[in-house]
Amino acid sequence: MSAITTPEHLENVEPLQSPLGRHIIQPGAHLLIRLPSKEVRQVRLDKEPGEKTINFGKFGSLKQKYLVGQPFGLTYEIQQDKSLLVQPPQRLEELEDTGATNEQIVDRGEFVQPLTAAEIELLKKSGLHASEIIKRQIETHVNYELKTEYSKDKYRKRKEAKFAKQITVLQPSLFNVASYLFDKDPVKIQYLRVDTLGQIANLANLRPGGKFIVIDSIGGLLVATALERLGGEGTVLYITEADSPPQFPIIDLLNMPEEHTTILKYLDWASVDEEHDPIRAPIEPEGEYRSEGQKGRYEKRRQIIEAYERLREELFAGEWDGLLIASQYEPFSIVQCLTPYLAGSASITVYSQYLPILTELQSKMRPLPAYLNPSITEAWLRQYQVLPGRTHPLMNMTGSGGYILHATHVYDDKKALSALAGFRQRLKQRRRAKEGAGSSEGDQGHMQEDVDMEDTNSTS
């Protein structure tokens, strides 16, 4: 049983005076808007709202500035002048079941619409309030009084969903965003349901200050979960097949403060291979710097490469607190590839929408001594309609919300070398081998970069 309470006495609140928090709608904020039809839409306010509007079609159009400074979670009625009227919390009505049983109603197969569509359109154009239109429909409805109280209530609600101009501004919290994505485009997030996501977050032991590796082919939902749970403390390392920094609209949608997202680092998959010497563009020109501008650009490139090197070293140094996977690639190959860098007692948490993918993973991990108790679970969720006298489970909850494999990384022997020590050892061995073979390619690494620096500026 969970519920929300919304501010009742708005006059007492001076939202923009209080330190700006994520619970207050800021200019430029992302919002989830619930329409009377229960459909949820994603919108973004302008950074400078001015007189700009948002249009919800038949549900009306509003000026953005009226939302700024409001807390999330309120319900408004959109006025003719595009301003907003806060609605008081809507209480559930205790209906008295009259025992009417529509025994009297004769089937006509079709629903008898009391007003024609044209008549309704006319009423709407006349500026009549939604509640007035609904009242008229009820008055002209032949069988209305024969129906049970529950039916009457349902009828009114259906009409309200059609004609009311009420919107609710939902906070784009992780829970709301994940639910929204699951409803809107489940394929993109591999049918990862919101409850499964919550189970993953807890099983993975996500916490402020931790260092986690996240493999995410689900549009950044798993990365966003990690960032949200770290709250700006710790590191989230994302490994990608792309050669550019990750772009995750999902993270933007959460209105996270910037300091919460700067802990997200990325490497490409090639960098994960310890043996791989990344090709780098030179950090010094062959001759002299042609200009101060060019020097600055080389300096920036050098910093990027150094940061990259540090991050790579950090990965190889190991002691990562957890590995989270929701990938389009074969999970065992990923687990195997990254296990050397996990701390002892680190958690490994793998999501898949397909059970057989995880049973195969489990059968491969089970014989290996590094993985303690790989277990597969499925989150089960059931939501109930809560209405006085009509509390019942919703029937659309039978599908799966995906599967989770969870294991703990352990050391088989007491000596348990740290990953860092192991890495240094391996590195030394490789260096020695190379020196023996003649180190011609020694320090000539190049780092990838989309645009060639020398070229772009030398012609200006």
């Binding site: 079941d97 025992g99 049983t101 529509n102 025994e103 109603i105 004769v106 089937d107 197969g109 629903f111 129906k147 049970t148 529950y150 039916s151 209530d153 349902k154 009828y155 097949e241 050669d243 490409d268 998959w269 090639a270 994960v272 291979d273 791989h276 990344p278 090709i279 563009a281 990938s327 389009q328 690639y329 074969e330 999970p331 190959s333 990923i334 590839c337 397909y354 059970l355 057989p356 993918i357 006085p388 006298g389 009509r390 509390t391 019942h392 489970p393 029937m395 039978t398 190049h446 990838q448 970069e449 989309d450 060639d452 020398e454 070229d455 030398s458 012609t459």
Partner: protein, 324 residues
Amino acid sequence: MWSTARTVGEGDVVIVWMTRENMVPLRITAGQELNNKFGVFKHSDIIGLPYGTKVPSHSGRGFVYILRPTPELWTLSLPHRTQILYLADIAFIVNSLDIRPGSSVIEAGPYARFLDQLLGYTFPLAGTGSGSFSHSVARTIGNTGHLYSFEFHQERAAKARDEFARHGMTMVHLEHRNVCQQGFALCDAVDSGRSSSSSVVFLDLPAPWDAVPHAKIAMKKDRATRICCFSPCMEQVLRTVTALNQCGFTDLTMYETLLRPHDVHHVPKLVSIDTIIEQVKLHEIKKEQRRLEQVAASDRKRNSRKRKRQEDNDIAEEDGPDPD
């Protein structure tokens, strides 16, 4: 119930199976045609075919399967597919109430009020729950059993009666009656020699608590008998418990059941991350080549520009001021 002959005969009710989401019941009548997006099917072509045959359309565009009806197929062929959930309930109810060949069963609400109530929406949804339970029970009790079926809505009672007749369900005794108010008019007549009472009662009503005391009267007195009240809402369940308890029913339990589909046949074959690592490395090499080519090209361009400037200068110098 339904034909048990090997082949389809005139007047048989068959299930026309198009896809797992799309099947319709059909009464075979020579001279008629079935038209759907899979093509045109003449009833007369179907007559004489064995049940279970795949039938191509006249146009050759598509095909359908002609299946023998079962209560389950019948239910799935009705317009409101949410009923598939209800199938699990029916199977569980039949099993847990120990309904067997020869059983005598009372049901109220054969045109199940289930979805109706669930939606809080009392306009009849065409075909909703149209006798799913009745058909299932009729199949199980067979010709030696009795199903006393009560429907309070006159029009629906008439419709159900027609349907039961069409399906040859002679074991069903349908009555138009509001059992909550009027009771079942069945009683245990031990001394009359003929007992029309039942050992099993199934109530699928919005307010089963009103019918429970009546049901008790209609149940056999010489044995343990069973009642099942089917309700979608918690509040109904709790109120029914009170009514059952007050009427002396014991061993009250509540069950929920459903059939969960497992469709795992589309598990994709996943690529190993090692392949991706190699791809990224290759991509890196290609990019470096492109960069070097660009650098070379830009060097060439710069050099050629330099050369051009040089040549221009040379020409200018050579030419000197034009004599013209």
